[in-house]
Amino acid sequence: MSLPPGLRRTPMAWAAAVMLASLVVLALVGPLVWGASADRPDASAVLQGPSVGHPFGTDNLGRDVLARVLTATRPSLLLALAAVLLGAGAGILLGASTAVLGRRARRLTAGLINLLLAFPALLVAMFLAVVFGAGAAGAMLALAAAGVPGFARLTQTLAAGVAGTDHLAAARVLGLGRLRLLGRHVLPNIAEPLLLSTTTAAGTSLVALSGLSFLGLGVQPPGYDWGQLLNQGLDRVYAEPLPALAPGLAILYAALAFQLLGEVLAGNAARRGPAPRTPAPTPAPWGSPRPKAGGGPAEEGLVLQVEDLHVELPTPDGPIRPVHGVSLALRPGEIVGLVGESGSGKSLTALAIADLLPYGARVSRRTLRLLGADLAALAPKERDRHLATGLAMIFQNPASALNPALRVATQLTEAVRAHRGASRAQATAEAAEALRRVALPPAVLRSRPHQLSGGQRQRVMIASGLMVRPGLIIADEPTTALDVTVQREITRLLSEIRRDTSAAILFISHDVALVGEFCESILVMYAGTIVETLPADRLADGARHPYTRALVASVPDLTADRDRPLPTIDGAPPDPLTPAPGCPFEPRCPRRRGHCADHTPPLEDLAADHRVACWYPVPVAADPETVAAS
């Protein structure tokens, strides 16, 4: 037996194939080879234990148990297959025909099928086997009938998925008859999952048939199958365990063979769906090469000091470096905007600062100080406490960032209870106060997130951050998932918090207009590096990097001339898998020259608070300094 094309030759697939092949061979040759000795009574060897001649002993007529088990492969398999094919055939026909029936008939049959499905198939099969009369045919029919509702429902569900597709609508428009529709368009589209279920059902059917025979409802003497042999073996299990063990092992072997086949087929079907998994890298959360503790010199009075931050992430195609060489610093009460396209590395920068990068990411940095403390120098426990109380993160989507199962009170109080040892009452009082700060009533404490609106949830997130009285708040696209009026409320709230608590805020956004309005200074990130830093008030007309210029030009509010069509930035950011030398913006840059492609421009001071990484910065007419320089 060979594997169907497209099946992956995994060890599991091989095992399933070998087991099934051996069953098929046994079913074919078993009765020919062992049939005679299985049926030959031997009055001198009745009810014997294991011996050389009879490895699993003999039965009450002196027949060899092993030979009987091997011979019984054929009836056991055949009956099970017959039952599953009959049941699947009838069920699929029933389920598929409802797919092309009218609405009322469809609902009626669906309801009936659901009613029947409330009962376990084995119980239904037992019931029907009693009604049909004990015997191989009765048991087989009973089992087939018991399987019909399951297959009917599966077919209905699958067919409903196909029925909604354009493809079928088109066929219907062409005026194809219902039956043609069914045979040509519905069934072929759902054949694969149906085949998979039939395979799994074959195993279940074999076990159930053995169960019926075991009960005395299936194959009747003088015929025999595994279930009946098991029953006979169990009758004398206290004298001799092997005659019960042999048919049991046979059923188990067959059940596992089908189970394994189902597993392989299902895995194969799933594999064609999503992309392959990322291979697991070795974890090195705090970076390698690990810089010496202390890193760069500490600068007084900084909330956050990051120098030369690099992040490396594993991907299926090899490691990428989505952040390389980022440095930034925040003073108390300062709002700094970090702006860039998605994929520019801005969110990863934030996650690296907060030590929240995904598993497998590697970080290195010369300096990372939060509120004066070098994070690399702290013991893990202290570092956790320091990060938990010094830094608050506000994430993009408050709907998913809050735990749907926990009350707001729990989510607000848990950090201070864990890290400041606050009592429940004290923490709850603080939580009510934090909610008041974000203009929410204390009643919200008792709610769960799904009972709140999007804006309310983001306020809860902010309140949760405020609970620990952080020195730094990193807000990663906190308004992107919200509508425009709510966006304004949230940015206004953040400004107030900054004013009242003198916490510094690192505001990450792709929206250059929003950042320009709301922040004091701006960092522009492109392809993993910072390409320009400048005061917000110079953004509209003082930006010097061609990329910043292009970003600003793509926003109607920031350009003076509204009559011109909005320019968009042509091209795409560089592929992080194939880093090229030179300026990362070079392929898209209108000002590029030969030099740019080979030499990476460093981030250099233009003025006291304005730095740019470009060999040929855009001149600014109004700026006499620049005019003089060029």
Partner: protein, 328 residues
């Protein structure tokens, strides 16, 4: 401080519960009607004469007639159905053809034993699969420990395929002779529960383990777990308080769907262990062709399954009102 928009905290309106319970109970009654009718019809559908089959061909004709009369088989069909339902209302489940004792008596003495092993097996399934699945998910998340993951997949796939009665028979064969560690037949003492419960819960536990792991892996990738991480909560709190409750709905839904098969499995498993429950009574009466008993056992097992299903659904609705009620 800004005055935000006035905040009202919406609650779920009251009527979804009424709708949910109403529909659910309607469905229960419809299913009960199916069971009742099926169990009633069974004895009438059997080819040949069930009374003669049970009493043997050489039974005295007047005894057969008396039994037929006692079963009401000599009256019109609808009258029989009315009598059957009326008898059920009064707790009359008929009389055994072989022993002559009331079936209700048999049910009363045997049902507790079945409910005990089925309930215990279900609890064991949950007790193994819920924490186990979460633990394996935590240890294999984001592609950690790929070997353990593979081993887990292969082993649970295998265990999920072990039929309960075959496992029961195997355990009996292994433990009956030689290793006399555990009682292999009858119900006497706590130890006698071990093997039946093990046989009934192994495969469901393996199935549920896989589901819980998949579900827990999904939850561990959710944003709110990153939030919990950003709060530097302890792993115990992150996994037990933040992840576990969010896996409960899916886990319980699947567990509930495993329950009917588990109850049906008691018939075969009880037969193997000679467990004094409904299942073994059914197995015996099937062989003895004692149809009134079979009929009653089908009724009792079917009803048990339906009530267990109702219990699980209501529990789900309490745990997660939104999803459970929306699905109705």
């Amino acid at each position: 401080m800004t005055r935000g928009p006035t905040v009202s905290v919406p609650r779920l309106p009251r009527h979804p519960w009424t709708v949910f319970l109403g529909r659910r109970i309607l469905r229960l009654f419809l299913s009960l009607a199916v069971v009742l009718t099926a169990s009633f019809a069974m004895i009438r559908l059997i080819p040949g004469d069930p009374v003669r089959a049970a009493l043997g061909v050489d039974a005295a004709p007047d005894l057969v007639a008396a039994r037929r009369h006692a079963l009401g088989l000599d009256t019109p069909f609808l009258t029989q159905y009315r009598h059957y339902l009326g008898g059920l209302l009064h707790g009359d489940l008929g009389t055994s053809l072989t022993t002559g004792t009331p079936v209700a008596e048999l049910v009363r003495t045997r049902l507790p034993a079945t409910l005990e092993i089925a309930g215990l097996a279900f609890l064991v399934t949950l007790a193994v699969a819920l924490p186990g699945g979460l633990l394996v998910a935590v240890r294999t998340r984001d592609g950690r420990r790929p070997r353990s993951e593979l081993a887990f997949t292969v082993v649970t796939a295998g265990l999920a395929g072990v039929p309960d009665f075959v496992l029961a028979a195997g355990l009996t064969a292994l433990l009956a002779v030689g290793l006399q560690l555990l009682p292999v037949a009858g119900a006497a003492g706590v130890e006698s529960f071990v093997l039946p419960v093990l046989a009934l819960s192994l495969a469901p536990a393996a199935v549920l383990l896989r589901i819980v792991r998949m579900e827990a892996l999904r939850v561990l990738g959710e944003d709110y777990l990153r939030t919990a991480r950003s709060k530097r909560l302890s792993p115990a709190r992150r996994y037990l308080r933040h992840a576990a409750p969010n896996t409960a709905t899916a886990a319980l839904t699947v567990a509930g769907s495993l329950l009917p098969a588990l109850v049906a499995g008691t018939v075969l498993v009880e037969k193997v262990f000679a467990w004094p429950g409904i299942g073994s009574a059914m197995a015996q009466s099937v062989v003895a062709q004692d149809y009134p008993v079979v009929q009653a056992m089908v009724l009792v097992l079917g009803t048990t399954v339906l009530l267990a299903g109702l219990l699980v659904d209501v529990l789900l609705a309490v745990l997660d009102p939104r999803s459970a009620i929306r699905e109705m």
